[in-house]
Each structure stands twice: as structure tokens, then as C-alpha cells.
């Protein structure tokens, strides 16, 4: 059996900031323009596809994040086992890509998801994000793509002071170390 290797990211606690790893979870990039595409993924995932900028929709298993007018990120709430992952992967690909409605790409390992939790998470973000979180803070489900210390990230407001941050795998170790350094000084 092959071993599953994550970049060296584990759970670290600081005063009112908790940085923790979450892998493996499923992540899929969905792209499409027309209405059929939008209704189709909604149907396949039993989620109403979020069409408003910077928003998301969730059910107990999955989250669907708006990334752009023709792009969405799908990710699973919990660690997901291979079979389900492959099943969902194939199903969506066959229903959408094969049927020429849009594109479906598995990006589970393209992104690393890091959970940020605690009263001071937004202080941590303010150490490196030019983005204005004043409204984002209070709107559950809000999504933003921005820069965090010059690295592209997607941030999903899961719950009060409970964020999921997505960063490209090859950048993740660097960002993780940087976040720890920042968190240790807040």
C-alpha cells in the first residue's frame, strides 16, 4: 500500500489561534458558463450552486465555493476515503465534462487545506492579507480569494472564528511556517 504524505503541516496551538491540518479531503475544480451546468452540479451534489460573488453553499458532506463567474471549488467536509472520492470524481466528470457542460478537475492534492480557529485568527490574517475582513468576519459561508504574505489563498468562513484556508501544495509548507512565526508573536 502506498503511504500518504502531506507537507510537514501538523496541528499547532497558540494563544487563541489553532492551526491544524485536515488532509486528506476531496477537492474538485468545476468550470462552466451556462445555466444547465449550474443546475446540473446543483442536482448532482444536492447543493444550490452559489452564484453570488464571494459566497458558498454547503451540506453535511460538501462545500461549494464561488471562485469566479465560471469557476467553483468543491471540497468535502471530512476526511474522505478513496472509493467515495473516485466515485464522485468519475460521476461529475461523466455528467459534466463528458456531456460538454463544462469542466471537472480533481485538485485534491493541488490545494492543501489548513484550518484556522480561535479568537485571534483575523489578527493572524491581518499580518499578511491586504483583504478587508471587517464584513467577511460576520458572514458565515463567505469566501475570498486573496493574497496571504504574497501567496494565493482561498479562505472559507466556516463558522465564527473558524476558517478553512486553501493554499497550493508547493507553497503550503512555507506559508505554514510563516503563519506559525506570525501566530507566535500575536
Amino acid at each position: 500500500m502506498l503511504n500518504f504524505n502531506n507537507p510537514v503541516i501538523d496541528t499547532k496551538e497558540y494563544s487563541e489561534i489553532r492551526i491544524s491540518k485536515t488532509e486528506p479531503i476531496l477537492k474538485m475544480n468545476l468550470r462552466g458558463k451556462n445555466r444547465d451546468f449550474i443546475t446540473k452540479i446543483g442536482k448532482e451534489l444536492s447543493i444550490i450552486t452559489p452564484v453570488d460573488p464571494n459566497t458558498s453553499a454547503s451540506n453535511e458532506k460538501l462545500n461549494l465555493l464561488w471562485l469566479s463567474p465560471d469557476e467553483w471549488l468543491l471540497y468535502s467536509n471530512h476526511m474522505i476515503d478513496l472509493k467515495d472520492a473516485n466515485f464522485l470524481d468519475d460521476k461529475l466528470f461523466n455528467e459534466i465534462s463528458k456531456k460538454k457542460l463544462g469542466s471537472v478537475t480533481n485538485v485534491s492534492d493541488h490545494w492543501i487545506m489548513i484550518n484556522l480557529n480561535g479568537k485571534k485568527v483575523f489578527e493572524l490574517l491581518s499580518a499578511g492579507c491586504p483583504y478587508n475582513f471587517n464584513n467577511f468576519k460576520n458572514s458565515k459561508g463567505a469566501v475570498t480569494q486573496t493574497l496571504f504574505n504574497h501567496i494565493d489563498v482561498i479562505i472559507h468562513n466556516k463558522n465564527v472564528n473558524d476558517l478553512n484556508l486553501f493554499v497550493r501544495r508547493s507553497f503550503s509548507e512555507h506559508l505554514f511556517l510563516w503563519m506559525n512565526d506570525a501566530a507566535s508573536r500575536i
Partner: protein, 91 residues
């Protein structure tokens, strides 16, 4: 640092964007029909306006969408943004 109103994502810091130069320079549909001069015109020659200019920007660290901007290059004031394919909201 500009505060740019991405037509898709809303107001964001300039650092999330990439400038793409003068807008509405359409790539010739039949380049092979053009003379060297005409091709050079498309390739290199620019108005480089001092004043109100239409230009392209990309929300490269956000939604990755290209859009157009009306900006006065003499004072960096942004008058408007509009999506690709749309008409400029000014004269």
C-alpha cells in the same frame, strides 16, 4: 496602492491585480493579410495617453478575470471599471 473595484469580486487592494496595458487593441483576425507596418502597429505602437485612458486589468490573485478600467493616468483616478466585451461607460 489603488483600491480597485473588480467587476466580479468588489473592492480589492491593488496587489491582487495585474495591469495589462492599453485596452481595445483587438488582435487582427487575419494577421497574414497585414503589412509589416500594420502588424507593428498592433504589436508595439501605443497611445500611452496622459489623461483618461481605457486599459486592461486582471484580478490575477482573485477571480482571475480580465476586465477594463477607465483611469486618468495624470492623477491615477479610476473613473470606472467594466467587463470584457462591454462598451466603455464614457464617451
Amino acid at each position: 496602492m489603488f483600491l480597485i473595484n473588480c467587476p466580479y469580486c468588489g473592492e480589492r487592494d491593488q496587489s491582487e491585480f495585474t495591469a495589462g496595458g492599453e485596452a481595445h487593441i483587438v488582435r487582427p483576425k487575419q494577421p497574414t493579410e497585414l503589412s509589416d507596418d500594420q502588424w507593428a502597429e498592433f504589436l508595439f505602437m501605443r497611445k500611452n495617453i496622459k489623461g483618461v485612458q481605457l486599459e486592461r486589468w486582471n484580478h490575477s490573485h482573485g477571480c482571475r478575470k480580465w476586465f477594463n478600467m477607465v483611469r486618468d493616468t495624470s492623477n491615477d483616478r479610476i473613473h470606472a471599471v467594466y467587463k470584457m466585451g462591454q462598451k466603455p461607460p464614457i464617451e
